[in-house]
Symmetry: C2
Subunit: 147 residues, 2 copies
């Protein structure tokens, strides 16, 4: 995708230093948006299928890793069961470096009892098949806001 526009010299040289192999920026961006849609739909199985079979999820990044489709499916299902409806949206442009994607999200939740907003940020790495091999989520207490 770097051929479609002329980059400033200073950024072109930094891009030239990158390993831009991977499934492509359009695919990575689409997966981030699809992830938010599936999360909003509480579709644990759909989200699981975005991941490679042996993928690792750390949500938050400081928590123990959850690995593999069965564990990942159970982890999301547990979160959906506990939280009730959550509305997740990608906040800005998905940042993409080769097979790495990262973006901020805003999650609105707790509408039935104690509404709150959670500001999160996910870093995902993709394999050549376009599947997520790892997802690290960055958020903590200072990113939860009661509404």
């Amino acid at each position: 995708m770097s051929d479609t526009q002329s980059l400033p010299d200073v950024t072109q040289s930094m891009v030239d230093a990158q390993d831009l192999s991977g499934p492509g920026a359009d695919h990575i961006s689409a997966v981030f948006h699809r992830y938010a849609e599936l999360f909003t739909a509480a579709d644990a199985e759909g989200i699981t299928q975005l991941y490679a079979a042996d993928a690792i999820v750390r949500d938050p990044v400081t928590a123990p890793a959850v690995q593999g489709h069965a564990a990942i499916r159970a982890w999301y299902q547990g979160a959906f069961d506990a939280a009730g409806h959550m509305d997740m949206k990608v906040e800005g442009e998905v940042r993409i470096a080769g097979r790495h994607g990262a973006a901020t999200f805003v999650v609105m939740a707790g509408a039935d009892s104690a509404p709150f907003q959670s500001n999160t940020l996910d870093v995902m790495v993709f394999n050549d098949d376009g599947l997520i091999t790892s997802m690290d989520a960055y958020w903590g207490p200072t990113n939860i806001h009661m509404l």
Copy 2:
């Protein structure tokens, strides 16, 4: 900082699973904003002092690592010399998980010749002294926009 407000149960349990050791969320957030100020001032030495002596910078994350104060200082100075004035701002809330911080930035540059906007995202890890031990930058060709 998790004591200052009551979190929803679903997030409290995830926070409880975190390792929240580190220099504190207020410090981490402040460093992200200070980083943007120093970047805008093209202050390579000031930025270098935010890093631990043996810190690692990968900008972008797919590029070879730059390690240690001397190499980091030279790397930023090279970028500033090549790019001319760049205005960098934190885009949204800094996401903080224990000693990990992450945020999106918007950089406006090239005003003298070919103005462009670069949307970046940095993940920083901090030591107990509040210094950055690693910085990974996520951006690529699809995040550069000629204005």
